[in-house]
Symmetry: C2
Subunit: 154 residues, 2 copies
């Protein structure tokens, strides 16, 4: 195999561009959010497995998410690369400090989204299903608005 001349291929622009008020900016932001979604789902699941007294081995994770263990291992590799998890072979996967923080944030956000949807009148099943995809796109600002909305409504 010829060695990668791709190494110095392209320099990506600033990784934390502010969202522009243009369609292109929103579109790009949505793409960026989407690339985080999988990591968020895995982190949340690993935390949940640990919290319920279980283990977070690749196979456990794969079973819960409905993918093969090979797919789960790939995702775990990415989690490790991003500094969100560590793993010891045959002992399971563990979240780093940062991973734990992410998981906690994701879980809280998930609950809030479901709560808002049901408060609006969405049936529980649909709320749970839709929240699975929606939650990743809910910004902090929107989340705060959700919290206020629920507070006032009580």
């Amino acid at each position: 195999m010829p060695s990668r001349p791709a190494a110095a291929r392209k320099r990506p622009p600033a990784p934390d561009l502010p969202a522009e008020p243009t369609q292109a900016g929103r579109f790009e932001q949505a793409r960026r959010v989407q690339s985080m979604a999988l990591l968020e789902d895995y982190a949340e699941l690993i935390a949940d497995l640990h919290a319920t007294g279980g283990e977070a081995r690749p196979t456990d994770i794969a079973r819960r998410l409905g993918v093969t263990h090979a797919t789960a291992i790939k995702a775990i590799t990415r989690l490790k690369r991003e500094g969100l998890a560590t793993a010891r072979p045959y002992r399971g996967v563990f979240l780093t400090e940062e991973g734990e923080r992410l998981a906690a944030r994701v879980k809280a956000r998930h609950l809030l989204v479901v709560e808002v949807l049901t408060a609006i009148g969405v049936p529980p099943d649909a709320a749970e299903q839709d929240a699975e995809g929606i939650e990743h796109h809910v910004s902090d600002i929107t989340l705060q608005a959700f919290a206020r909305f629920l507070k006032e409504r009580k």
Copy 2:
């Protein structure tokens, strides 16, 4: 070799549960929805370009979405493959009947999502940004609940 507590080694209960509205099911559904998102965005944009008197050429689309024209052409190829659009070189892209229906549905859904978010108290900018990602995950059932919510609130 360090061994872990035997209790934690136990296989979790219910090893062969039938497939149900479980996390795996929701996860899979979210993945399915995601694969439609790009097509929906393109269909909506093409309709919008036509509606505002413009043309929907690959370059126009690429510019609006902030991607290269090569990327847009690939997406257009997929739209054609799915029977949602046709294209005549140098004349632009056109939606089929089905593509038009999709675009109309997507546009209505987008507006409704933004409206609900702002009604809840989300600032307009955040509502617009988050809706870009959220809308694709809003099921028909949830959409109906959104419509009812807005109606009652007036």
